[in-house]
């Protein structure tokens, strides 16, 4: 298995690691049983994501995708951020090994979960904007190919 230089760079020097105190939205996806958990914090001002931080338990690809995803939505409007796809994350990292593609899905979902949480805190139903966020894996009945 080979990681691109971009993946290794984001893995070795992850951007925006940490938590945001008084975050406006927090999203967590994945679970320990499957080996990856991503937690994303956002700060929103006038519909613009002014700060993003993440914490990830997971493999090199999981850390790299979280790192680059925070860079890709920093300073963006929520509408723009919601357009971020896992495909774009993979492309920005110059590709991921096939077995690691699910990590990019996790990054997209973590970001969406944080935005959903932001909407909920505003008293707005996130479903029309974010869609249904299916938990990536519940550790029991998910489709993540793990024999739980």
């Amino acid at each position: 298995m080979i990681y691109s230089e971009k993946v290794m760079d984001h893995f070795a020097n992850p951007r925006n690691v940490g938590e945001i105190e008084n975050a406006d939205g927090i999203g967590e996806v994945g679970n320990a049983k499957c080996g990856d958990i991503m937690k994303m914090y956002i700060k929103v001002d006038n519909g613009i994501i002014t700060d993003v931080k993440f914490k990830t338990f997971g493999c090199g690809a999981a850390i790299a995708t979280s790192s680059i995803a925070t860079e890709m939505i920093m300073g963006k409007s929520i509408e723009e951020a919601l357009k971020l796809t896992n495909k774009a994350v993979v492309e920005a990292l110059d590709g991921l090994p096939p077995a690691k593609l699910h990590c990019s899905v996790l990054a997209e979902e973590a970001m969406k979960a944080a935005i959903s949480d932001y909407y909920k805190r505003q008293g707005i139903d996130p479903a029309p904007f974010v869609g249904e966020i299916t938990p990536h894996c519940d550790g029991e009945t998910c489709g993540c190919d793990v024999n739980h």
Partner: protein, 399 residues
């Protein structure tokens, strides 16, 4: 401390020794003859092959005509198991006994045979990674054609009671095969005393090149041919022999088995220091029995961190190691070995295997013990899992 290169993955493969390399080199460019040819160049190669056969036999307490060269451990395992299965089937014996934590070369071969009408009993292991010989005894049936049990586990290094299992199989008149790939050179092996009928070994784990190994087959047992063709390996495994690698294997196995007690004493001292040092990291456990383990094997689980990111960070610091986490196995499941000793998935994901050998130095151990806690600290600081563990269990010490 200055960055250094530390190779601590000798269970994956080893460096070819200078001695083995020098022995092999003339067989590439000088004595390059085909060992089946009649002229002197060929006979030189044939003599070298037979010398190596004698060296491998001597290391196992076997006779030279009981040694068959193969491409390595996986091939030997496949041949032994499928061969015994084919022989058994002819007598209506279609039951095989193995363990839950074999190497995949054994496990997947057994699963293949299950698809072809064989029944396989998988003996469990206890939480220390040891097999109870009584379980093997109780599993043997009239239609059992083979018992195959790993000599020393490749991930957690636990050494199985092979002599006891051998004695049981001999008494019950059932063939006994062992995958001894990790054990050779680390544990004294005597196939006669241990009642081993078939034994697999690999060259590259003991400082010979990759792509060579051997299967010991007790005389009196006739396995079906593995490769049909010429008369090589007494027609059992056709194909022109890999003479240079086989020569290296003969030298390497002789060196590896020359003084096992001395090696064990030296390496296990470093291993124990490594284990003690790693266990100082908060919420870390040793996997596998502390005493009955290979002298170079360390396997720990560090809570709140994931194995692959641990390995990549160690590599950034010059340390080569391995893990049983899902992410390093190519699948999404953590290692079957770690699950077999009862580890929950989330703890198995955080496993780290360091396999050292006689080339490892005390400075290497110091370096590992300095780097690992730093890396663990870095990963735990960014781990939401560790954050949750600390909160739920009132843990205040980060490493």
């Amino acid at each position: 401390m200055e960055k250094r290169f530390v190779y601590a993955d000798n269970s994956a493969t080893t460096r070819v020794s200078q001695h083995a390399l020098e022995a092999a080199l003339p067989y590439f460019t000088e004595n390059y003859g085909n060992a089946s040819s009649i002229y002197a160049l060929g006979m030189n190669a044939a003599r070298a092959l037979e010398k190596a056969r004698g060296q491998v036999a001597a290391a196992l307490g076997a006779k030279p005509n009981e040694i068959f060269f193969t491409s390595g451990g996986s091939e030997s395992d496949n041949w032994a198991i499928k061969g015994c299965a084919e022989n058994g089937e002819k007598k209506g014996k279609k039951h095989i006994i193995t363990s839950v934590f074999e190497h995949h070369a054994v496990l997947h071969t057994c699963q293949y045979l299950e698809k072809h009408g064989f029944e396989v009993t998988y003996i469990p292991v206890d939480e220390k990674g040891l097999i109870n010989p009584e379980d093997v005894k109780n599993a043997i049936r009239d239609d059992t054609c083979l018992v195959t049990i790993i000599f020393a586990n490749n991930e957690i290094g636990t050494i199985q009671p092979i002599a006891e299992i051998g004695a049981i199989c001999r008494e019950k008149k059932v063939l006994f095969h062992t995958d001894a790939v990790q054990a050779v050179g680390n544990v004294e092996i005597d196939v006669s005393k241990m009642n081993i009928d078939l034994l697999s070994l690999s060259g590259h784990k003991i400082h010979a090149p990759k792509g060579c190994g051997a299967l010991y087959i007790r005389s009196g047992i006739t396995l079906p041919n593995l490769i049909h063709g010429g008369a090589q390996e007494r027609t059992k495994r056709a194909g022109t022999e890999n003479v240079p690698s086989i020569v290296a294997l003969g030298v390497a196995i002789t060196d590896a088995c020359a003084d096992i007690p001395a090696k064990r004493e030296k390496v296990s001292k470093m291993r124990d220091r490594l284990i003690d040092g790693l266990l100082k990291i908060n919420e870390t456990r040793l996997n596998g029995d502390r005493e009955k383990r290979l002298c170079g094997n360390v396997n720990v689980s560090i809570r709140g961190v994931e194995g692959e990111s641990l390995l990549l960070n160690l590599d950034l610091n010059g340390i080569c190691a391995s893990s049983g986490s899902a992410c390093t196995s190519g699948s999404l499941d953590p290692s079957h070995v770690l699950l077999s000793i009862g580890l929950p998935h989330e703890i198995a994901h955080g496993s780290l295997r360091l396999s050292i050998n006689e080339e490892t130095t005390d400075e290497d151990i110091d370096y590992i013990l300095e780097v690992v806690p730093k890396v663990v600290k870095k990963l735990r600081e960014m781990s939401p899992l560790w954050e949750r563990i600390c909160k739920e269990e009132n843990i205040t010490r980060t490493i």
